[in-house]
Amino acid sequence: MTLQKPPLYSAHRAADADFTDFGGWEMPVTFDSIRTEHSAVRETAGRFDVSHMGEVVVRGPDATELMDRLTTNAVGELEPGDAQYSCILDENGILLDDTVVYRRPERDGYLFVPNAGHDEQMTNRWRRFAAETDFDVAVENVTDETGMIAIQGPEAVDAVSSVASDSVSDLDRFCARRIGIAGADCLVARTGYTGEDGVEIVFSATDAESVWDAFDGIQRCGLGARDTLRLEAGLLLSGQDFDPDDEPRTPLEAGLEFVVDFSTPFVGADALRELEAAGVDERLVGLRVDERAIARAGYSIVADGAEIGAVTSGTMSPTLGVPVALGYVDAAYADEGTEIGIEVRDSVADATIVDQRFLAAQEGDT
């Protein structure tokens, strides 16, 4: 398979980035070092190319109804310019992907952002469901002709306001508006995947270099820092912390009930209701390793002489200076403060179940 290249590929080459294959895309993994990039986002600001994320536009008289069927959150509540985090489930309630749904400002219909490599599958799913239900909609996969960057960190909003045609400081969390940046018409949303304030910016791929260059002077960040930042914030990664083939999980197990609205008629609702009534056997938890070892994806979690779960994501938290991880454990062991072990190579490292919002919990912001 040929890897897709983001529209900023040559700019990243020129900046001497290291690259990695992620979801079928050849993306920058580091520009300087994970630590440098990570702390820039926590302390000032960083910029990320996230053009590997999918972009799918859904329009037409039945667009709201279709979105409400295929995502778990209440799409009908969105006003133009509102965004919401949501899940995409199969009929059994298993997570296929997570996404952000935007009701487009100054345009009709919706934009939703599936994860890297999922755009074609989701576009087909939307079209197939529309055909089966006879919904009058147009579903367009615009991933290839769209660029997306994220500016994240405590100084991100000011940085964007200073180069944009209009301030974004009055933009609420999970709200979006159309703004000009470097002559390009952009959708700017106060969203992100780092646990910091910031925005994500969507534009035509042909404008990618001018929009990216408008933030010259802000630390370039790769997927390596994106991963450590999202993990410290306790945010899940589709394809890793849940995956329909390798890690089939429901939103109930994954702790994503907060974006499941049972008053809407979404696919998977019946199965989820039954599972909710029966109670879940395993839950996603935050893990803090209390020894000098990183708990990496796939490592077994043990307690009372038995395997009680496995790690799905883990790293050294650059901000907290301790190894942190996410994983699923037997619900009987899921309470915060429970001491468990993680099999790290030849030995078992002591670890503790903690609030998965590692950074916020540390700062007392709970």
Binding site: D16, S33, T228, R292, A293, I294, M316
Partner: protein, 125 residues
């Protein structure tokens, strides 16, 4: 990207450097190796006094993104261990040929079977 490969040392294919200092050799990992690993967060080293066999793993270097074993390029008893890098593993990133050294082995063995700087440079091309 170019990597530092000091002239007066020998190199192993597994990316360790070896520097003779009288009757001991000092061992660490190369500039190329530390760059490949990225931000190093833990280093595990054996205790002084243990005897190592050439080609066996003696330590572990763990970075945010990867974990890697470190191998003994020659045989001999461990004369010294750089304990500074246990508390400050970032020294291996910052100064792999200096403050980031790992162990010293007592040996009179020849280092001729190891790569010279030109051969090592060729290997990492």
């Amino acid at each position: 990207m170019t990597f530092e490969i000091p002239a007066q040392r020998r190199y192993a294919e597994s990316h360790e450097w070896i520097l003779r200092r009288d009757d001991v050799v000092r061992v660490g990992i190369t500039d190329f190796a530390q760059d490949e690993l990225g931000d190093i967060v833990f280093v595990e080293l054996p205790a002084a006094g243990e005897t190592l066999e050439e080609g066996t793993e003696f330590g572990v270097v763990e970075s945010i993104k990867a974990i890697s074993d470190v191998y003994a390029p020659v045989s001999g008893p461990i004369a010294a261990v750089n304990e500074a890098i246990l508390d400050r593993p970032e020294l291996v990133n910052e100064d792999p040929y200096g403050e980031g050294w790992m162990i010293e082995l007592e040996t009179d063995d020849s280092l001729d079977h190891l790569l010279d700087p030109d051969q090592y440079e060729e290997q990492i091309q």
